[in-house]
Symmetry: C3
Subunit: 140 residues, 3 copies
Amino acid sequence: MWITERLHVQSKGDDDVLDLTGNVQDAVSRHRLRHGQALVFVPGSTAGVTTMEFEPGLRHDVPAAFRRLIPREASYRHEETWHDGNGHSHVRASLLGPSVTVPVEDGKLVLGTWQQVVLIDFDVRPREREVVVQLSGEKQ
Amino acid sequence: MWITERLHVQSKGDDDVLDLTGNVQDAVSRHRLRHGQALVFVPGSTAGVTTMEFEPGLRHDVPAAFRRLIPREASYRHEETWHDGNGHSHVRASLLGPSVTVPVEDGKLVLGTWQQVVLIDFDVRPREREVVVQLSGEKQ
Amino acid sequence: MWITERLHVQSKGDDDVLDLTGNVQDAVSRHRLRHGQALVFVPGSTAGVTTMEFEPGLRHDVPAAFRRLIPREASYRHEETWHDGNGHSHVRASLLGPSVTVPVEDGKLVLGTWQQVVLIDFDVRPREREVVVQLSGEKQ
Protein backbone atom coordinates (compact mmCIF):
# COMPACT_ATOMS: atom_id res chain seq x y z
CA MET A 1 0.00 0.00 0.00
CA TRP A 2 1.02 3.57 -0.69
CA ILE A 3 -0.99 6.32 0.98
CA THR A 4 -0.16 10.02 0.89
CA GLU A 5 -1.91 12.40 3.25
CA ARG A 6 -1.57 16.02 4.26
CA LEU A 7 -1.59 17.40 7.77
CA HIS A 8 -2.38 21.04 8.25
CA VAL A 9 -0.82 22.60 11.30
CA GLN A 10 -0.64 26.16 12.52
CA SER A 11 2.77 27.46 13.62
CA LYS A 12 3.70 30.70 15.32
CA GLY A 13 6.93 30.90 13.31
CA ASP A 14 10.24 31.99 14.89
CA ASP A 15 11.37 28.41 15.62
CA ASP A 16 8.03 27.19 16.90
CA VAL A 17 8.24 23.43 17.61
CA LEU A 18 5.10 21.39 16.81
CA ASP A 19 4.54 17.81 17.91
CA LEU A 20 3.22 15.82 14.94
CA THR A 21 3.35 12.37 16.55
CA GLY A 22 -0.36 12.06 17.33
CA ASN A 23 -1.34 13.12 13.82
CA VAL A 24 1.08 10.67 12.20
CA GLN A 25 -0.01 7.78 14.44
CA ASP A 26 -3.60 8.67 13.65
CA ALA A 27 -2.91 8.33 9.91
CA VAL A 28 -1.21 4.96 10.53
CA SER A 29 -4.23 3.75 12.52
CA ARG A 30 -6.91 5.06 10.16
CA HIS A 31 -5.27 3.39 7.15
CA ARG A 32 -4.59 0.23 9.17
CA LEU A 33 -0.91 0.15 8.26
CA ARG A 34 0.43 -2.84 10.15
CA HIS A 35 4.05 -3.05 9.07
CA GLY A 36 6.03 -0.48 7.13
CA GLN A 37 7.09 3.15 7.32
CA ALA A 38 5.76 6.66 7.76
CA LEU A 39 7.68 9.35 5.89
CA VAL A 40 7.02 12.82 7.35
CA PHE A 41 8.10 15.51 4.88
CA VAL A 42 7.58 19.27 4.97
CA PRO A 43 7.35 21.02 1.60
CA GLY A 44 8.98 24.43 1.77
CA SER A 45 12.44 25.72 2.51
CA THR A 46 12.07 27.41 5.91
CA ALA A 47 10.96 24.51 8.13
CA GLY A 48 12.44 21.17 9.09
CA VAL A 49 11.46 17.85 10.66
CA THR A 50 13.32 15.80 13.29
CA THR A 51 12.63 13.88 16.49
CA MET A 52 13.07 15.08 20.07
CA GLU A 53 11.59 14.77 23.53
CA PHE A 54 8.73 17.23 23.33
CA GLU A 55 8.88 18.86 26.74
CA PRO A 56 8.99 22.57 27.65
CA GLY A 57 12.71 22.66 28.44
CA LEU A 58 13.81 21.20 25.12
CA ARG A 59 11.16 23.16 23.21
CA HIS A 60 13.30 26.09 24.30
CA ASP A 61 16.76 24.49 24.10
CA VAL A 62 16.61 23.08 20.57
CA PRO A 63 15.50 26.37 18.94
CA ALA A 64 17.99 28.25 21.14
CA ALA A 65 20.80 26.14 19.71
CA PHE A 66 19.74 26.97 16.15
CA ARG A 67 19.57 30.66 17.05
CA ARG A 68 23.11 30.50 18.40
CA LEU A 69 24.52 28.46 15.49
CA ILE A 70 22.76 30.36 12.68
CA PRO A 71 22.04 33.81 14.12
CA ARG A 72 19.21 35.87 12.72
CA GLU A 73 21.30 39.02 12.89
CA ALA A 74 24.17 37.63 10.78
CA SER A 75 24.45 38.83 7.21
CA TYR A 76 22.76 36.72 4.51
CA ARG A 77 23.00 37.34 0.78
CA HIS A 78 19.50 35.93 0.44
CA GLU A 79 18.35 39.20 2.00
CA GLU A 80 20.02 41.32 -0.64
CA THR A 81 17.65 39.95 -3.27
CA TRP A 82 14.53 39.04 -1.36
CA HIS A 83 14.42 41.39 1.63
CA ASP A 84 12.04 39.08 3.46
CA GLY A 85 14.15 38.88 6.62
CA ASN A 86 14.35 35.10 6.69
CA GLY A 87 17.82 34.24 5.39
CA HIS A 88 18.60 32.50 8.68
CA SER A 89 15.34 30.51 8.40
CA HIS A 90 16.43 28.98 5.11
CA VAL A 91 19.90 28.09 6.37
CA ARG A 92 18.55 26.49 9.56
CA ALA A 93 16.03 24.45 7.57
CA SER A 94 18.69 23.12 5.19
CA LEU A 95 20.87 22.11 8.13
CA LEU A 96 18.04 20.25 9.88
CA GLY A 97 16.54 18.65 6.78
CA PRO A 98 12.93 18.37 5.60
CA SER A 99 11.96 14.87 6.69
CA VAL A 100 12.17 11.86 8.93
CA THR A 101 11.15 8.25 8.25
CA VAL A 102 9.74 6.29 11.18
CA PRO A 103 9.36 2.49 11.16
CA VAL A 104 5.89 1.06 11.88
CA GLU A 105 5.38 -2.30 13.55
CA ASP A 106 2.13 -3.90 14.69
CA GLY A 107 0.32 -0.72 13.71
CA LYS A 108 2.45 1.56 15.89
CA LEU A 109 5.19 4.06 15.17
CA VAL A 110 8.44 2.66 16.57
CA LEU A 111 9.67 5.57 18.70
CA GLY A 112 11.35 5.85 22.07
CA THR A 113 9.11 6.63 25.03
CA TRP A 114 10.42 10.19 25.11
CA GLN A 115 10.80 10.69 21.38
CA GLN A 116 8.32 12.65 19.30
CA VAL A 117 8.23 13.62 15.62
CA VAL A 118 8.40 17.41 15.44
CA LEU A 119 8.23 20.19 12.90
CA ILE A 120 10.36 23.26 13.59
CA ASP A 121 9.12 26.32 11.75
CA PHE A 122 12.09 28.63 11.27
CA ASP A 123 10.19 31.26 9.30
CA VAL A 124 9.70 34.70 10.79
CA ARG A 125 5.92 34.81 10.82
CA PRO A 126 3.01 32.53 11.76
CA ARG A 127 2.23 30.09 8.97
CA GLU A 128 -0.19 27.32 8.23
CA ARG A 129 2.08 24.45 7.30
CA GLU A 130 1.12 21.53 5.11
CA VAL A 131 3.04 18.39 6.06
CA VAL A 132 3.09 15.29 3.87
CA VAL A 133 2.66 11.93 5.63
CA GLN A 134 3.36 9.04 3.32
CA LEU A 135 2.64 5.50 4.47
CA SER A 136 4.07 2.43 2.78
CA GLY A 137 3.94 -1.21 3.78
CA GLU A 138 1.43 -3.92 4.60
CA LYS A 139 -2.14 -3.46 5.77
CA GLN A 140 -3.69 -5.26 8.71
CA MET B 1 8.51 -1.28 -8.51
CA TRP B 2 12.08 -0.75 -7.36
CA ILE B 3 14.39 1.16 -9.70
CA THR B 4 17.91 2.26 -8.87
CA GLU B 5 19.69 4.75 -11.09
CA ARG B 6 22.89 6.75 -10.98
CA LEU B 7 23.27 10.43 -11.74
CA HIS B 8 26.72 11.68 -12.64
CA VAL B 9 27.31 15.31 -11.77
CA GLN B 10 30.40 17.46 -11.86
CA SER B 11 31.17 19.55 -8.77
CA LYS B 12 33.79 22.20 -8.25
CA GLY B 13 34.34 21.04 -4.65
CA ASP B 14 34.77 23.51 -1.76
CA ASP B 15 31.08 23.46 -0.80
CA ASP B 16 29.74 23.65 -4.33
CA VAL B 17 25.93 23.34 -4.29
CA LEU B 18 24.36 21.40 -7.17
CA ASP B 19 20.64 21.33 -7.94
CA LEU B 20 19.59 17.72 -8.59
CA THR B 21 15.85 18.33 -8.80
CA GLY B 22 15.55 18.22 -12.58
CA ASN B 23 17.55 15.00 -12.78
CA VAL B 24 15.48 13.31 -10.08
CA GLN B 25 12.17 14.42 -11.61
CA ASP B 26 13.44 13.16 -14.95
CA ALA B 27 14.06 9.69 -13.46
CA VAL B 28 10.56 9.72 -11.94
CA SER B 29 9.05 10.64 -15.32
CA ARG B 30 11.08 8.21 -17.44
CA HIS B 31 10.16 5.29 -15.19
CA ARG B 32 6.57 6.45 -14.95
CA LEU B 33 6.51 6.37 -11.16
CA ARG B 34 3.05 7.59 -10.25
CA HIS B 35 2.93 7.27 -6.47
CA GLY B 36 5.82 6.55 -4.14
CA GLN B 37 9.19 7.93 -3.16
CA ALA B 38 12.53 9.03 -4.55
CA LEU B 39 15.52 8.39 -2.29
CA VAL B 40 18.49 10.57 -3.25
CA PHE B 41 21.68 9.20 -1.67
CA VAL B 42 25.30 10.20 -2.20
CA PRO B 43 27.88 7.45 -1.70
CA GLY B 44 31.06 8.86 -0.17
CA SER B 45 31.90 10.63 3.06
CA THR B 46 32.65 14.20 1.96
CA ALA B 47 29.34 15.29 0.41
CA GLY B 48 25.77 15.58 1.66
CA VAL B 49 22.22 15.97 0.37
CA THR B 50 19.45 18.26 1.62
CA THR B 51 16.78 20.60 0.28
CA MET B 52 16.97 24.38 -0.07
CA GLU B 53 15.85 27.24 -2.25
CA PHE B 54 18.42 27.13 -5.01
CA GLU B 55 19.08 30.82 -5.59
CA PRO B 56 22.39 32.70 -5.69
CA GLY B 57 22.07 34.23 -2.23
CA LEU B 58 21.48 30.94 -0.44
CA ARG B 59 24.02 29.13 -2.61
CA HIS B 60 26.43 31.40 -0.78
CA ASP B 61 24.74 31.48 2.65
CA VAL B 62 24.34 27.76 3.27
CA PRO B 63 27.99 26.87 2.52
CA ALA B 64 29.09 29.97 4.47
CA ALA B 65 27.27 28.63 7.53
CA PHE B 66 29.07 25.30 7.25
CA ARG B 67 32.39 27.11 6.89
CA ARG B 68 31.70 29.05 10.05
CA LEU B 69 30.41 26.06 12.06
CA ILE B 70 33.08 23.56 10.95
CA PRO B 71 36.08 25.70 9.92
CA ARG B 72 38.59 24.35 7.46
CA GLU B 73 41.47 25.79 9.46
CA ALA B 74 40.53 24.03 12.71
CA SER B 75 42.63 21.05 13.76
CA TYR B 76 41.38 17.60 12.69
CA ARG B 77 42.95 14.30 13.73
CA HIS B 78 41.86 12.89 10.38
CA GLU B 79 44.68 15.00 8.94
CA GLU B 80 47.31 13.42 11.12
CA THR B 81 46.80 10.09 9.36
CA TRP B 82 45.60 11.00 5.91
CA HIS B 83 47.11 14.43 5.15
CA ASP B 84 44.52 15.04 2.44
CA GLY B 85 43.39 18.38 3.83
CA ASN B 86 39.70 17.47 4.02
CA GLY B 87 39.04 16.73 7.68
CA HIS B 88 36.46 19.52 7.73
CA SER B 89 34.79 18.05 4.61
CA HIS B 90 34.13 14.77 6.40
CA VAL B 91 32.74 16.43 9.50
CA ARG B 92 30.44 18.72 7.52
CA ALA B 93 29.14 15.78 5.48
CA SER B 94 28.33 13.74 8.59
CA LEU B 95 26.47 16.68 10.08
CA LEU B 96 24.37 17.24 6.95
CA GLY B 97 23.73 13.58 6.15
CA PRO B 98 23.97 11.65 2.88
CA SER B 99 20.37 11.52 1.72
CA VAL B 100 16.87 12.86 1.43
CA THR B 101 13.64 11.04 0.60
CA VAL B 102 11.05 12.97 -1.39
CA PRO B 103 7.42 11.83 -1.76
CA VAL B 104 6.05 11.41 -5.30
CA GLU B 105 2.39 11.95 -6.15
CA ASP B 106 0.73 11.93 -9.56
CA GLY B 107 4.16 11.47 -11.11
CA LYS B 108 5.64 14.59 -9.52
CA LEU B 109 8.10 15.18 -6.68
CA VAL B 110 6.20 16.79 -3.82
CA LEU B 111 8.37 19.83 -3.08
CA GLY B 112 7.65 23.41 -2.16
CA THR B 113 7.74 25.93 -4.99
CA TRP B 114 11.07 27.26 -3.74
CA GLN B 115 12.52 23.96 -2.55
CA GLN B 116 15.10 22.03 -4.53
CA VAL B 117 17.01 18.81 -3.83
CA VAL B 118 20.70 19.71 -3.63
CA LEU B 119 24.06 18.03 -3.27
CA ILE B 120 26.70 19.96 -1.35
CA ASP B 121 30.22 18.80 -2.16
CA PHE B 122 32.41 19.59 0.84
CA ASP B 123 35.55 18.04 -0.60
CA VAL B 124 38.51 20.27 -1.41
CA ARG B 125 38.81 19.54 -5.11
CA PRO B 126 36.54 19.21 -8.14
CA ARG B 127 34.96 15.76 -8.31
CA GLU B 128 32.63 13.82 -10.51
CA ARG B 129 29.98 12.64 -8.09
CA GLU B 130 27.81 9.60 -8.54
CA VAL B 131 24.42 10.04 -6.88
CA VAL B 132 22.02 7.15 -6.35
CA VAL B 133 18.35 7.81 -7.12
CA GLN B 134 16.15 4.99 -5.96
CA LEU B 135 12.48 4.98 -6.90
CA SER B 136 9.88 2.85 -5.13
CA GLY B 137 6.11 2.77 -5.45
CA GLU B 138 3.43 2.28 -8.08
CA LYS B 139 3.76 2.78 -11.83
CA GLN B 140 1.35 4.74 -13.97
CA MET C 1 9.03 -7.86 1.61
CA TRP C 2 9.05 -5.90 4.86
CA ILE C 3 11.37 -7.11 7.62
CA THR C 4 12.01 -5.30 10.89
CA GLU C 5 14.89 -6.36 13.09
CA ARG C 6 16.62 -5.03 16.19
CA LEU C 7 20.32 -4.68 16.72
CA HIS C 8 21.58 -4.46 20.28
CA VAL C 9 24.82 -2.55 20.67
CA GLN C 10 26.73 -1.41 23.71
CA SER C 11 27.88 2.22 23.78
CA LYS C 12 30.17 3.99 26.22
CA GLY C 13 28.06 7.16 26.00
CA ASP C 14 29.65 10.63 25.79
CA ASP C 15 29.54 10.76 21.98
CA ASP C 16 30.73 7.21 21.43
CA VAL C 17 30.64 6.38 17.70
CA LEU C 18 29.62 2.82 16.78
CA ASP C 19 29.98 1.30 13.32
CA LEU C 20 26.72 -0.50 12.44
CA THR C 21 27.58 -1.31 8.82
CA GLY C 22 28.50 -4.95 9.36
CA ASN C 23 25.34 -5.60 11.35
CA VAL C 24 23.11 -3.94 8.76
CA GLN C 25 24.77 -5.77 5.85
CA ASP C 26 24.38 -9.01 7.81
CA ALA C 27 20.61 -8.41 8.10
CA VAL C 28 20.43 -7.69 4.35
CA SER C 29 22.30 -10.93 3.60
CA ARG C 30 20.39 -13.16 6.04
CA HIS C 31 17.04 -12.02 4.67
CA ARG C 32 18.31 -12.23 1.10
CA LEU C 33 17.21 -8.69 0.23
CA ARG C 34 18.35 -8.21 -3.33
CA HIS C 35 17.04 -4.78 -4.26
CA GLY C 36 15.57 -2.20 -1.95
CA GLN C 37 16.44 -0.19 1.14
CA ALA C 38 17.69 -0.51 4.69
CA LEU C 39 16.31 2.05 7.12
CA VAL C 40 18.49 2.36 10.23
CA PHE C 41 16.57 4.13 13.01
CA VAL C 42 17.46 4.65 16.66
CA PRO C 43 14.54 4.91 19.09
CA GLY C 44 15.33 7.41 21.85
CA SER C 45 16.12 11.08 21.97
CA THR C 46 19.81 11.18 22.93
CA ALA C 47 21.45 9.32 20.03
CA GLY C 48 21.61 9.84 16.28
CA VAL C 49 22.51 8.00 13.09
CA THR C 50 24.55 9.21 10.11
CA THR C 51 27.30 8.04 7.79
CA MET C 52 31.04 8.77 8.04
CA GLU C 53 34.43 7.27 7.41
CA PHE C 54 34.90 5.16 10.51
CA GLU C 55 38.56 5.74 11.27
CA PRO C 56 40.21 6.85 14.54
CA GLY C 57 40.81 10.45 13.47
CA LEU C 58 37.20 11.13 12.51
CA ARG C 59 35.87 9.12 15.45
CA HIS C 60 37.43 11.96 17.42
CA ASP C 61 36.72 14.86 15.04
CA VAL C 62 32.98 14.36 14.51
CA PRO C 63 32.13 14.18 18.23
CA ALA C 64 34.53 17.06 18.88
CA ALA C 65 32.55 19.21 16.46
CA PHE C 66 29.30 18.42 18.28
CA ARG C 67 30.96 19.27 21.60
CA ARG C 68 32.04 22.61 20.22
CA LEU C 69 28.71 23.43 18.56
CA ILE C 70 26.43 22.25 21.41
CA PRO C 71 28.60 22.49 24.55
CA ARG C 72 27.81 20.32 27.53
CA GLU C 73 28.51 23.19 29.91
CA ALA C 74 26.01 25.57 28.32
CA SER C 75 22.74 26.18 30.12
CA TYR C 76 19.76 24.00 29.16
CA ARG C 77 16.24 24.40 30.50
CA HIS C 78 15.82 20.65 30.14
CA GLU C 79 18.07 20.43 33.20
CA GLU C 80 15.84 22.61 35.31
CA THR C 81 13.13 19.95 35.19
CA TRP C 82 14.98 16.70 34.76
CA HIS C 83 18.40 17.22 36.37
CA ASP C 84 19.83 14.31 34.42
CA GLY C 85 22.77 16.28 33.01
CA ASN C 86 22.04 15.46 29.38
CA GLY C 87 20.40 18.56 27.94
CA HIS C 88 23.20 18.83 25.40
CA SER C 89 22.70 15.16 24.44
CA HIS C 90 19.10 15.81 23.43
CA VAL C 91 19.97 18.90 21.39
CA ARG C 92 22.82 17.16 19.57
CA ALA C 93 20.61 14.18 18.75
CA SER C 94 17.86 16.38 17.29
CA LEU C 95 20.40 18.20 15.15
CA LEU C 96 21.89 14.98 13.77
CA GLY C 97 18.61 13.11 13.33
CA PRO C 98 17.60 9.56 14.26
CA SER C 99 17.98 7.68 11.01
CA VAL C 100 19.54 7.06 7.65
CA THR C 101 18.19 5.11 4.66
CA VAL C 102 20.72 3.21 2.55
CA PRO C 103 19.93 1.81 -0.90
CA VAL C 104 20.53 -1.91 -1.48
CA GLU C 105 21.50 -3.31 -4.87
CA ASP C 106 22.47 -6.87 -5.74
CA GLY C 107 22.27 -7.76 -2.07
CA LYS C 108 24.75 -5.09 -0.97
CA LEU C 109 24.42 -1.77 0.81
CA VAL C 110 25.31 0.97 -1.67
CA LEU C 111 27.92 2.94 0.29
CA GLY C 112 31.17 4.62 -0.61
CA THR C 113 34.35 2.65 0.08
CA TRP C 114 35.10 4.87 3.07
CA GLN C 115 31.54 5.40 4.22
CA GLN C 116 30.05 3.56 7.16
CA VAL C 117 26.67 3.74 8.90
CA VAL C 118 27.26 4.92 12.46
CA LEU C 119 25.36 5.51 15.66
CA ILE C 120 26.55 8.40 17.83
CA ASP C 121 25.46 8.04 21.43
CA PHE C 122 25.30 11.52 22.92
CA ASP C 123 24.03 10.40 26.32
CA VAL C 124 26.24 10.86 29.36
CA ARG C 125 26.50 7.24 30.45
CA PRO C 126 27.11 3.84 28.88
CA ARG C 127 23.91 2.42 27.39
CA GLU C 128 22.75 -0.66 25.60
CA ARG C 129 21.12 0.75 22.48
CA GLU C 130 18.43 -0.94 20.47
CA VAL C 131 18.60 0.03 16.81
CA VAL C 132 15.81 -0.75 14.35
CA VAL C 133 16.87 -2.05 10.93
CA GLN C 134 13.96 -2.17 8.53
CA LEU C 135 14.40 -3.83 5.15
CA SER C 136 12.03 -3.30 2.25
CA GLY C 137 12.27 -4.39 -1.37
CA GLU C 138 12.64 -7.55 -3.43
CA LYS C 139 14.09 -10.87 -2.31
CA GLN C 140 16.67 -12.84 -4.21
